[in-house]
């Protein structure tokens, strides 16, 4: 048995251990013991992933009682990347959960579901055949549904969110099941090793591809299949939202990589265009994020946007490969993986930060926050770094990933090739739109929540979170920065894992920088930081000397047009901050506004108070899903008339069915 095999075994044992501890212990001991087991389980998963990424292989065959081939667990290098990603996110989130859980979220059900969720997410990328993949997928889906519903006793909305999530996740499962069935039929096998490189020209592969991609896209939360994210993420406990948003959705993207790059490489152009078109929905998602006022809802929409970009990058890879632009295709593939990894890093930090704010203030509504940088400095600093990553600014992993994707687009210019000539500039325009709105979104999220003055009593009395949660936050933020400062080794490892051998795709260059060899572009964030330090040094010295000699006068009155206007309610809040965006994209967002003016009794010209409320519904949900749900309801209503509970009627149905069967058999 080698390291990978031991790692897989260790995860199974630790998961059993975590479930047992969750059930057997109570109170604070449960949180500590079960949380520590979950963290160890994830650490084992991360180690296994690192070994698999390093080239360690193992094939575990588990015989079943059924007349089917045995289940195969065989992580490859790409699977290793995902196991490492899920494991790292899992360690951070489990550590955080120890200090975070309270009330219903501290129940044995929650802890047991968390352990199974972590195990399921580790097994999905480790699976080596269709059946074990589906089993692991279902374990992950079911356990995460339990986590979403964990706090339903306090909030009605959690139940509704859980229903949406359960329906979407199982629709996704059904599609994937059907897709794999079609693929196995076309390829004549169920193990991934035998299905690798199936000829896309075979009959049935097109259907399989579409079913699988739509199924995986629903799990990844790509628009228009994203409706579960903005509902489920705000309602789940924060560590669960972090896991779902940073790790689970990545597995959706892994599924698309598995199908598009490994199992069915070299598909026709329309496959790639389908993926890029799915990615285009990210513009709608980031638009919703930029006007959202619920912090976790904002983050959920941002997840949808980022995964959309990943899917677009995968589509771009396939397109450029089919059209013989190998250098740019490799760069796009590296960009897709970098986006996935950096998204996991900043999103786990941001969701845990949002959880810390929720814990410290009891608020999720940005309009009621403010000034948290004074009371929660650790949360503020880590959330700030996460926001930089999400806004793709240097020096974070998000910046490097977006840079790589843009480089792939710049070098994917083929004016003579019609498909490439149309798709590449449109993708660039899409990324440009999302990049700008992401900037507004995260300046708003950080600036309104953490800067200026508190907008509510709960925020004013905020307390910093306990030390285990702070450690988790710092680990997340450190990962964001590490991916940004030293992207070279990471990119090289990712390129190798994606099957780009011998430095084709990306390699490390001086000072931890990354070189995209396929397109000849170099970026060294460490050198950029060094250059910034050199050019800013004289000014910095001058500032420090001046500050020491004559310190600034603090605590003076802010400008109020010549009056004393210090009411915190006069500050801009999240709604007003996004008002210009809301107004500009009025047609796309269709916000509903409600203004109630109460006049002074003596005069209709003087207002006593003005109440303003604004609500932005998800356009996709309102236009696409509500009619579908309404239609399903109508059908169900009709069906209810058939089911009146009378035994005579059911006997009549059986009799009719029997007659029908006889007629068919005889004919």
């Amino acid at each position: 048995m080698n390291g990978v095999a031991w790692g897989l075994l260790g995860q199974a044992v630790l998961a059993a251990c975590a479930v047992t501890l969750a059930v057997a212990t109570r109170g604070r001991a449960r949180a500590v013991l079960a949380g520590a087991s979950c963290a160890l389980l994830s650490a084992a998963g991360a180690t296994t992933g690192a070994l698999a990424l390093g080239g360690g292989t193992v094939v575990v065959r588990i015989p079943t009682a059924l007349p089917t081939p045995p289940l195969v667990i065989a992580p490859d290098r790409l699977g290793g990347v995902l196991m490492l990603l899920v494991g790292t996110v899992g360690v951070i989130a489990s550590l955080y959960a120890i200090g975070y859980v309270r009330g219903a979220a501290a129940s044995r059900t929650q802890w047991a579901a968390l352990a199974l969720f972590l195990l399921g997410m580790e097994l999905v990328p480790a699976a080596g055949d269709v059946v074990s993949f589906l089993l692991a997928w279902e374990l992950m889906a079911a356990a995460s549904t339990v986590l979403v519903v964990a706090e339903h006793a306090h909030r009605r909305t959690a139940r509704e969110a859980a229903v949406w999530y359960a329906v979407m996740t199982h629709l996704s499962f059904v599609l994937i099941l059907a897709g794999f069935a079609a693929l196995s039929a076309a390829g004549g096998a169920t193990s991934f090793a035998a299905l690798t490189g199936t000829d896309p020209a075979r009959a049935g592969t097109g259907v399989a591809f579409v079913l699988l991609v739509v199924g995986f896209a629903a799990k990844a939360g790509v628009a228009p299949l994203h409706v579960w994210l903005p509902r489920a993420h705000p309602e789940a406990p924060s560590h669960a939202s972090a896991l779902m948003s940073a790790a689970m959705v990545s597995l959706g993207a892994y599924g698309i990589l598995l199908v598009g790059i490994r199992l069915l490489p070299g598909g026709p152009t329309w496959w790639a265009v389908l993926l890029v078109a799915l990615g285009a929905g990210s513009a709608v998602c980031i638009l919703h994020a930029s006007v959202a006022t619920d912090l976790k809802r904002l983050l959920a929409y941002s997840t949808s946007e980022n995964l959309g970009l990943v899917v677009a990058a995968i589509g771009l890879t396939m397109l450029l490969r089919t059209h013989h632009v190998p250098g740019a295709a490799s760069a796009a593939l590296v960009a897709a993986l970098l986006l996935l990894v950096s998204h996991a890093a900043f999103k786990v930090t941001l969701f845990l930060g949002a959880g810390a704010v929720l814990r410290g203030t009891g608020e999720r509504d940005l309009d009621r926050m403010g000034g948290l940088v004074h009371t929660m400095p650790w949360t503020a600093a880590t959330f700030g770094i996460g926001s930089l990553g999400a806004a793709a600014l240097p020096v974070t992993g998000g910046f490097v990933a977006e840079w790589a994707l843009l480089q792939a687009l710049i070098h994917g210019v083929r004016p003579a090739d019609r498909a490439v000539a149309v798709v590449v500039p449109l993708t660039l325009g899409l990324i440009a739109l999302t990049a700008g709105l992401a900037l507004v979104t995260f300046v708003k999220a950080f600036g309104i929540a953490f800067l200026a003055r508190a907008r509510s009593a709960g925020t004013l009395g905020a307390r910093e979170v306990p030390v285990t949660m702070r450690v988790a936050l710092v680990l997340g933020a450190a990962a964001v920065l590490a991916l940004g400062v030293l992207p070279g080794p990471v990119a090289a490892a990712l390129a190798a894992a994606a099957g780009l051998s011998g430095g084709d795709g990306a390699r490390a260059t001086g000072l931890g920088g990354v070189a995209l060899t396929g397109v000849g572009a170099v970026l060294s964030p460490a050198a950029l930081t060094g250059l910034a330090a050199v050019v800013a040094l004289p000014a910095l010295v001058a500032m420090l000397v001046a500050a020491r000699r004559r310190p600034a006068t603090t605590g003076v009155l802010g400008w109020g047009c010549g009056g004393v206007r210090t009411d915190p309610r006069m500050q801009y809040n999240a709604t007003s901050y996004a008002e210009p965006v809301t107004r500009i994209f009025d047609d796309a967002l269709q916000p509903s506004r409600d203004v109630v003016v109460t006049h002074v009794a003596e005069s209709a010209y003087l207002a006593e108070r003005v109440r303003f409320a604004q609500h932005v519904d998800d356009v996709v949900e309102a236009r696409l899903y509500r009619p579908l749900v309404a239609a399903a309801d109508a059908v169900a209503d009709r069906a209810r008339r058939v089911q009146n509970g009378s035994i005579n009627r059911y006997l009549a149905f059986s009799f009719t069915a029997l007659v029908a069967v006889l007629l068919v058999v005889v004919a």
Binding site: I410, L523, A539
Partner: protein
């Protein structure tokens, strides 16, 4: 990494810092003369800077370390821009090759720093300016990236020094439809990013119409001096970039004293010309209503996209 390009980059930063107050001085003086005023002289911004640097800043109650850090970050971003953009010389640094995407993100770091500075004061005006500023930045971003894309197609690279060098060596590529459209789109972006008319009025005293000024209302003393210097530097560097894209002659191609001196002189000339042109155009222009600005920026996006299309069709 060879030392010569690094030294040239530092020289370039120094030249830009010296020229930045003068560029503002030229725009203000030109504007004053065209409006029939005497004007305070080209050196007035430099004198203002010296005065502000000697003053102690006042910080509003409830401000956080962000207020202390934001001017530093903004200034660093502007200085880094001056090092990365080919102003005096078109010599790419080995590890930081002045990639346009990197340049744009360095610019955005400054944009974000000043937006957070505006919010941190906790006044209604700061938030208002910050919100408007970020909205405009978000709408500018698509134009920037698409214009960059159009410019990089003929050069085969997104590294600015290579683009400028390619235009200098093949002057015919400057006058192509793609090249002209992309530079015009970039010009509108520069106006938006640096808060000039018709998007923002840099000399307004009415809080409700402010964008940039609203964000720095709570900034004073030497903090304000650094913010001002950074903003002026940003304008000068971006004007210099547009100048070098339109008239790439004189930009040094080698790290020797002669070409670099020539490059510095050429830069001063181009900046003086562009600053005077900018002021002249601004005299005849009124500030756009805030909600008409998206139309202008959408127009610039269309120009940039046309540039891409043109470079495909007329390649």
């Amino acid at each position: 990494m060879s030392v010569a390009p690094l030294v040239v980059a530092l020289v370039q930063v120094t030249v830009a810092v010296v020229l930045a107050p003068l560029v503002i001085g030229v725009t203000r003086q030109t504007r004053a003369r065209l409006e029939g005023r005497v004007g305070a002289g080209v050196l007035q911004p430099a004198r203002d800077l010296r005065k502000l640097l000697a003053k102690t800043p006042l910080r509003a109650a409830g401000t956080s370390p962000v207020t202390v850090a934001a001017p530093v970050v903004l200034l660093t971003s502007s200085l880094l821009l001056a090092a990365l953009v080919p102003l005096v010389a078109a010599l790419p640094l080995a590890l930081v090759p002045g990639d346009l995407f990197v340049v744009v993100s360095v610019l955005l770091v400054g944009t974000v720093a000043i937006a957070l500075l505006g919010l941190d004061g906790g006044s209604a005006f700061g938030g208002m300016g910050s919100s408007r500023h970020m909205t405009i930045a978000a709408l500018v971003e698509p134009t920037v990236l698409v214009a960059v894309y159009a410019l990089s197609i003929p050069a085969g690279s997104s590294a600015l020094p290579l683009i400028v060098a390619a235009r200098r060596d093949h002057p015919a590529s400057i006058a192509t439809p793609a090249g002209v459209l992309a530079v015009v789109a970039l010009g509108i972006v520069v106006l938006a990013e640096t808060g000039r008319l018709p998007i923002d009025n840099p000399s307004t005293h009415l809080e409700l119409t402010m964008i940039h000024e609203a964000m720095v209302l709570e900034t004073s003393g030497r903090d304000l001096a650094w913010v001002d210097l950074a903003s002026w530097l940003r304008l000068s560097v971006l004007l210099g970039l547009v100048g070098n894209l339109l008239l790439p002659w004189g930009v040094a191609g080698a790290a020797a004293v002669g070409p670099v001196l020539l490059g510095a002189l050429a830069l001063a000339g181009k900046l003086a010309l562009l600053a005077a042109l900018l002021a002249t155009a601004e005299v005849g222009m009124a500030k756009l209503r805030l909600f008409r600005v998206p139309e202008l920026l959408a127009g610039s996006f269309v120009l940039a996209f046309l540039a891409v299309t043109a470079s495909y069709l007329l390649a």
